[in-house]
Amino acid sequence: MATPEYETHEHDVIVIGAGGAGLRAAIEAAAQGVSVGLICKSLLGKAHTVMAEGGIAAAMGNVWPEDNWQVHFRDTMRGGKMVNNWRMAQLHAQEAPDRVLELERWGALFDRTKEGLILQRDFGGHRYARLAHVGDRTGLEMIRTLQYHAIHQGIDVYMECKVERLLKDGDRVAGAIGYWRNTGRFVLFKAKAVVLATGGIGKAWKITSNSWEYTGDGQSAALWAGADLIDMEFVQFHPTGMVWPPSVRGILVTEGVRGDGGTLKNNKGERFMFNYIPEFFKGETADNEKEADAWYADKKNRRTPDLLPRDEVARAINSEVKAGRGSPHGGVFLDICTRRPADYIRKRLPSMYHQFKELAGVDITREPMEVGPTCHYLMGGVRVDADTTQATVPGLFAAGEVAAGLHGSNRLGGNSLSDLVVFGRRAGLHAGLYAKNLAGALRVDQAEVEAAGRAMLEPFSRSGGENPYAIQAELQETMHSLVGIIRTESEMRQALGKIEGLKERAKKVRVDGGRVYNPGWHTALDLGSLLTVAECTTLAALERKESRGGHTRDDHPYTDDTWAKVNVVLRLRNGAVQVSREPLPEMPAELKALFQERK
């Protein structure tokens, strides 16, 4: 085969991914005076952040002056069942308020309190109303604000450009290779530092709130480049996705519905969450409807169990449906129409109103919604240093969903948008500093670049007849039925076997047509990373023999203290994924004390 042609771009820092984390990283790197390239798989402003609804968590204390970073830190750690990286959780809680105010300075118009400050709303697992928001379209406000700020910072933006692999110079990162989606031509980025901000892996499951982009590109690229992944077993199923009609199954219904007063009910009309309050949260959760309803206005009451952390609520819904108490289409009811006036619902939840009206023919100011769990978020990912976000490969940084640690075994709602800007900024800062301190020319291995090019072209010339869409669909079915909300050893072993089979078939995928904007080809290329992350999650889930957060084992149903002290670590050695357990960083005494104060 002829040597594939490619164009070359050189930057001090490249940022892969242009959602909240990538945009914030690019802005901060540019502020260091280095040359920055920002690479997006879609058009600018279309990344997954745009779909975030409920809000951004930050202990600003605008609604409840009692709130502060220590309370936010504690909520985050407890929500993650204490296996979070404590330092990330601390930095996140401390810096989130500044990042929200910075968004305001850059033009974001959050909803206001009566005093004219940023309004904050209640959400699951948060002690106080803490989420800055714009109705239920907070992510849109955030991505537009960052996008329109970024375009004036001298950043080169590469749109609809997909990175396939990272390149290295010895031990350190030296760039990346990928292709332009709209021409199919190859592109080589030489860079001293690379920030991964590529999001999650939800497209490996059948029912998901994630878009086509979420194929684990960053996690896989990092793994292939020799970086460690941790916590890959922790996958969040958001309790409330749409369930009907089938074509919208999985589309997100914001937790803000419950934050603003909505409750979950089964087909008997019972508020079943009162039956699912775990021991761990008994002290802070209301056990009767009166106290639960009073909590919204007066935080001296305990929190409604409708707003337990997402892992608890998703499991509860799963149990109700299995027990035959579900809604007609296999979910449960989410009712806000009998609890809040129609005007309030339309003002606070305009996009939910619109979404149900247009896609399901349901008026949520008059009827309850039908909802059920949907694959939403990966807590695990690239192992990073808390302060610098650097991965275990020099020059490689990661922020946002692709990075692991902050959320432990389960993420609280609202902590994702704050994660993006807190650690996006840190990634850009430290990547910029790293690049500035790195002397000498960049070397990339010509042979490696050409081999990557040839590999990308292979599907056009194969004689095999496998359809990339069919393989993707089978993987989604496999992960959904065998590595879903409730897991067990025998099923996960079966999943590994199926993934192995799909990997073989993926080698025989054939695509027709040309290289210009060919989705069949793009889907074929994304299979590599999708199968890799599916395997990683399954291996890590087999390893962790307990239930915790976004990892529930039927065969090991309890939380086990010995597992509270370790991360499951995955790394590639001699072409195979190696699984090990390594100790979590120890929390200092003054932070530990925060957990003694009240039960």
């Binding site: 745009v50 033009g107 118009l109 206001r112 849109l140 375009i151 359809n467 989705p519």
Partner: protein, 251 residues
């Protein structure tokens, strides 16, 4: 299960034609589901953009039976079962392939808009704004940048020559959103006249009609902006006003 015939444009910058695909529609499906079904079973290389599939990202704009719409928000039960439905790329922008167009015009125009510059904060370092003072600007922030308003705008739809000096409705409301920010200090009137070309807009409201976010682009954005321009700098209006203002009314 109803079956439809989708006539989908297949081709590139040098030409193409509509090809027929017969597709089944399950309950609740939208046009985008059927396009995905065509990709998975009949034409894996059929090019289209999409992301959220919930009307939030504005990626899947197309002209469905000639009408600019989001494919993800166009339900099949709008159409009689068995019908033939045409799907074409949005016409105002150059075709890359099939349903995908080159929308880089919009990113060029975005960069030209003079950005926000806020007043200094209050003494305690905080900004205060009342909800009623930001309601109007928040309406413009709902824009999902689907560019359907740009597609349908007569000024540029069939007039390539207008594109260099005209930003289109999307960026009129972008400017309006910045101008209506209670703490902004920038005067964009020169930009709006000279570079954004607001004078070319003849208020046919087509943009408002196709907006999937139901933003009142014309009434709340463009018209007030035109009025402000007229007040400020339009020499004819200025002359008229001077003339009228100086006229002695008959006794």
């Amino acid at each position: 299960m109803p079956t439809f015939t989708l006539k989908v444009f297949r081709g590139g910058p040098t030409g193409g034609d509509f090809r027929d695909y017969r597709v089944d529609a399950d309950e609740g499906m939208v046009i985008l589901d059927l396009v995905h079904r065509i990709q998975a079973t009949q034409a894996p290389d059929l090019a289209c953009r999409w992301n959220c599939k919930a009307g939030k990202c504005g990626s899947c704009s197309a002209e469905i039976d000639g009408k600019p719409r989001l494919m993800c928000m166009t339900r099949m039960d709008l159409f009689q079962p068995g019908r033939t439905i045409s799907i074409a790329p949005i016409r105002t922008f150059p075709i890359i392939r099939d349903l995908v167009t080159d929308v880089s015009y919009n990113y060029v125009k975005a960069k030209q808009v003079p950005p926000l510059r806020l007043k200094p904060p209050d003494a305690d370092g905080r900004y205060r704004m009342m909800q009623e003072d930001i309601d109007r600007a928040q309406e413009f922030h709902k824009c999902i940048e689907c560019f359907l308003c740009q597609d349908v705008c007569h000024v540029i739809r069939d007039h390539e020559e207008h594109k260099p000096a005209f930003s289109g409705p999307r960026f009129f409301i972008k400017v309006a959103g910045l101008d209506m920010h209670p703490l902004d200090t920038v005067d964009r009137s020169e930009f709006v006249q000279a570079q954004a070309g607001i004078g070319l807009c003849n208020i046919t409201k087509c943009c408002t009609e196709v907006c999937p976010e139901h933003i009142h682009i014309t009434d709340n954005g463009i018209i007030p902006m035109k009025e402000r321009m007229a007040d400020n700098v339009d020499p004819i209006v200025w002359l008229l006003r001077k003339f009228r203002g100086g006229r002695k009314e008959p006794a």
